[in-house]
Symmetry: C2
Subunit: 661 residues, 2 copies
């Protein structure tokens, strides 16, 4: 019995059973439910909060403590200028259309995607080909599909012309590239309508995804809720660098809420308007993106779906060691590669199935314009492959733009071991002649010429020598600069300090998405009874580690229950007592649903002989032993220093003289 193997895949994954479990046990639920709820907002109940807190605690250990990162806790409410500089005010937006009759709002790209994919599916079925599984998450939602079919708006079996089919496929492949007006043309030209009502939709208009508010009582200071924690790190860069004794590389880390006012969120925890994220900003020398600990991880193999493969229209994941991937230039640099492995190890440790995890490289059109490389850790779940962690090389973009806007240098000053001498062209101005000739416009002319840098000044020198003058364009006006105003000379500069803006590698975790994927990966039903769901969460993250079950609520059990609780608490193990008036079997079934890995049963033998049984969740196997011995075994099991097989060799199997399960 103790060695019994568990057939976890005896029943196919049943999403509605999982959803019912999560709702019934209050892992999470729609927020403001008694007020009718609000799409994309969820509250976590006790097991969900606890699971989340355990994932966060492990994240802190795995990243912040293990890597000596500098944690920050920054502000959510952000004044507008910060996001003007970062580009979010102008660009953090989606295109939306409205149903011309109902006023329902739809995201334009999702609408196009959904409708064209539906037509392609209809085409395939009409041609007698099997429907291939689709990527778009929403399409997999059984409830919605059922509703559609009820309304008679299921897939229509219409065969398309080959030209049309090819066109649709082309559109879908490069959907991310379309501008709003282009999406509008697509919608008009292809007669795309709101599939829920069959009404026409308006032209796409841009909708910024940041929640807007106003700071202070005057209404003069617009603010936004941050859509990511990143800017809070960057603005504190100089303080962090100083805190790190001015050394680089180092990383800052922040765990906190962010907000995105999604147009019409419909994918449960996978697309929400308020979420907890954990972000790392790792600052490196742009000339040296090696990582001191890269050797430790170089041999670990990851499942990579690189850009080239995707451009070939394929989704084959290649397993390759991260060392080789960096060597072959598939992953841009060591630091990025190092973090991909660290992300991989973290996800496995908390219980994500390695078979359902891949790293997908962004296509060039997907990346922010400043990023040099970006990989998403995608986790497979019932919504398809979902981005759960992003890992981007943001180059020097953010620090540069904030520094430029504020005038505050956000740079590293590196003492050079040897003084470096450098010759440069320098413009030497005769201010008097300049002022006489050009008056107040002189300053602008100087600025433009100096902005030309080395190359520009070299060219100017040539012109001055050849023609005695050069022409300069300042804001559309032309000025003549003569050689008595300016001479260009070669000068030697000595540098003992190198000043540079570091590059930033950013691993960014959506904790809610990871948590939901983990719940799907952990869920299964007992072979003998499909109604008995189990969440096989690893002890590390399980909301409750140990359930204490007194056989009955008789008072004689109270001292034992108190003793066991207290001893577990001292060992740092979080336990709960279930002394409700139901059978022990029902109490265990409830805790299998809550993912509690171990159960301790106190019965009359416990009172007489100080023995206690220990039950393992997945196998339902039970061992028996002296109370203190069992506590010591369960402590090691929870802490991960002992496997269940070892426990079985330490404690005898419970022979069931008393029926407890």
């Amino acid at each position: 019995m103790a060695e019994a193997t568990v057939k976890k895949n005896a029943h196919p994954f049943d999403k509605s059973r999982l959803e019912s479990l999560l709702n019934r046990r209050f892992f999470y639920a729609p927020a403001f439910e008694i007020y009718g709820g609000v799409a994309g907002l969820y509250d976590y109940g006790p097991p969900g909060s606890s699971l989340q807190a355990n994932i966060i605690a492990e994240w802190r250990r795995h990243f912040i403590i293990e890597e000596g990162m500098l944690e920050v806790d920054t502000t959510i409410m952000t004044p507008s200028p910060v996001f003007e500089t970062s580009g979010h005010v102008a660009r953090f937006a989606d295109w939306m259309v409205k149903d011309t009759k109902t006023g329902d709002v739809l995201r334009a790209d999702h609408l196009v995607k959904g409708v064209l994919e539906g037509r392609l599916e209809g085409d395939r079925e009409a041609r007698g080909l099997a429907a291939i599984p689709m990527k778009e998450p929403e399409k997999k939602d059984k409830k919605k599909e059922k509703e559609k079919k009820k309304k008679g708006k299921g897939v229509e079996l219409v065969q398309l012309t080959d030209v049309t089919r090819d066109e649709y496929e082309h559109v879908l492949a490069k959907l991310d590239d379309y501008t709003g007006p282009e999406l509008g043309h697509l919608i008009k030209n292809n007669n795309i309508r709101n599939p829920d009502t069959d009404n026409e939709v308006t032209d796409p208009v841009q909708f910024n995804l940041m929640f807007a508010s106003s700071i202070g009582p005057t209404g003069q200071h617009p603010g936004f809720l941050r859509p990511e924690t990143a800017q809070g790190h960057f603005l504190n860069f100089s303080r962090l660098l100083e805190h790190n004794n001015s050394r680089i590389p180092f990383a800052s880390a922040c765990i906190g809420r962010s907000f995105r006012n999604e147009i019409s969120p419909r994918a449960g925890l996978m697309r929400v308007r308020e979420f907890t994220m954990a972000e790392i900003e790792h600052y490196v020398d742009p000339l040296d993106k090696s990582h001191p600990r890269f050797r430790e991880v170089a041999d670990i193999e990851l499942g990579l779906l690189d850009r080239e493969t995707q451009m070939g229209g394929k989704t084959d994941v290649g397993r390759i060691s991260v060392g080789e991937a960096v060597r072959r230039g598939i992953i841009a640099n060591e630091t990025l590669g190092y973090f991909l492995v660290r992300i991989y190890l973290f996800l496995l440790k908390i219980g994500i199935s390695p078979a359902k995890l891949r790293f997908r490289q962004h296509m060039s059109n997907e990346m922010a314009h400043y990023a040099t490389d970006c990989w998403d850790a995608e986790i497979f779940n019932s919504y398809g492959w979902t981005e759960c962690v992003g890992c981007a090389d943001r180059a020097a973009y953010d620090l540069t733009v904030h520094s430029k806007r504020t005038g505050v240098p956000l740079v590293v000053r590196q003492q050079l071991k040897e003084v470096v001498e450098e010759e440069r062209w320098v413009g030497v101005w005769d201010k008097k002649v300049l002022g006489k000739g050009l008056g107040r416009e002189g300053a602008g002319v100087v600025r433009v010429l100096e902005e030309g840098g080395e190359e520009g000044l070299g060219r100017v020198k040539g012109e001055l020598e050849a023609h005695g003058q050069t022409k300069v364009l300042v804001e559309g006006k032309e000025f003549v600069v003569t050689k008595d105003m300016l001479s260009v000379e070669r000068k030697v500069f000595k540098q003992s300090v190198r000043e540079y803006t570091p590059n930033v590698i950013e691993p960014s975790f959506g904790l809610g998405r990871i948590l939901y994927a983990l719940l799907e990966h952990s869920f299964w039903c007992r072979e003998q009874d499909v109604d008995r769901g189990v969440l096989s969460l690893p002890p590390l993250v399980a909301p409750t580690k140990v359930l204490i079950v007194p056989l009955s609520s008789k008072e004689e059990f109270d001292p034992l229950v108190a003793e066991v609780s207290s001893k577990l608490r001292k060992a740092g193990i979080f336990s709960r007592v279930d002394d409700s008036n139901t059978s022990i079997g029902k109490r265990y079934a409830r805790n299998d649903e809550l993912g509690t890995p171990f159960g301790l049963t106190l019965d009359f033998a416990s009172v007489q002989n100080r023995t206690m049984t220990l039950r393992e969740r997945d196998t339902t196997a039970q061992l028996i032993g002296d109370i203190d011995e069992v506590i010591s075994v369960v402590t090691e099991l929870v802490q991960g220093t002992m496997e269940w097989a070892d426990a079985c060799s330490k404690l005898p199997v419970y022979d069931g003289t008393q029926a407890v399960d």
Copy 2:
């Protein structure tokens, strides 16, 4: 040396030194500083984040785990109807005035308070009496006072008439009672002006303190950022009750961000626009507010400043056991008393000075109208006595209003041990006659009559018997109900279930305020050198527990540093290595400022003999021993299972043959 006593109060508390330390070591800093900052918004740097995380971890252990509370993690962005119901949309506001010339915005009550207190101070000085310390936090801000004096707007020595003086004192005593218009009269009649500019101010207008936003793309769903986490608990009450096997009492707990758009925040971390709070909602039977664990705490004495003392115009704190306070009715009930003690123990555990902690009862005019009793844990600091934890009995208010608004019952159903019989009047309608007589209006008539309840139906019965009919007013229209439509009869009801709305006891913690007070209480300067600041944070909450200091950055130390780090990590102790190129003394001084309680020095003897010295922060005493022995001692010191005195008896004093400090 090891037994040296420390004179922590050798120098008077110097706020500017503390502020300089907190800023220099990046405990926290104004958010968006490089953009000029925003009043009331702060970012926590590495030591501040870590200190906060440790306080939160202890809060979780002390409250959630120890008391078996149900943790929830709820949504910040909240749709307007929720706060309409809770009363926040109508009442969560302050009165503000504007400077008529500069447009500067001031909180009306703060303005009145500041100006009148200033005049009273001037009066006392003019009468030759010593200035008494003031309560108002802002007034104690030295920087501001300096600025005032610079501008020549210091306290003016003007003697008031006795009548005026009494009037001012009367106004200040009941300032919380004034409405906005009354504050306006006060300002006009007493010629109160903006003290910064001497300009007149406008009439007070109300300003709601919630940050407003809009949910979704249509603009039709106004939302607010929550100003407290409480409503998120209440809305989930039924799910939580079910999760607790429908048993009561129980508590929910939530740690998270809340937001208040303060009019003009000026008191550092003590009055901010965004803050992390920890709230408990404990649900009890309104007929039984006893607490099962009250006996355990009944003998603990608290410093109480009760309502009666305050009404007598005094602020004397009485030390009294909580058992006696409940018995004498000073504290309303056991559950409230139990939580006051738990709050007290928590604050002491993290390092709040007991001499600077008191519990002040709210005056009746201070409490929300529905609250039955409320106590604030106030902590003394340079801003005066500041509310850091509130502990209120909110009665059944919140659950009642949300249930009424949504129609969803938020109640406890208690199986009664004995069936209770009750006789009630019941209306028996002849629907046919009613329909014939009143048509579609009949439904409204039935509703109005049944809403009249027991008393109403009794009266109707009398009228029907006396006159054969009764008149009913439905939305202003009168209808006649005859005795062939309705008869009122006495019926017996059997009840086996008692249904009630639980009352809520709410301990609510402002974590940033507690953190700041703790920093003040922990700060002192070395007797021999006022520039050497120390933060004597308890190991439990100290950001870093152990500092590892290799004598030099020579490579031969690397394996030892790695060994010690790794062993500490395995023991669960958070350490940092400081191998910067400065003297060991400077490195220790830096870590005294960071509050790191223990230091381990690795020198050449370590390499040769595997010995290591252990330094204690407050005394700077040093012990020496074998590396593994020292690790075991420091582990116990950090975990609190060993005191420094015991460590001194275990390890020999370091005799300083090598100068390391």
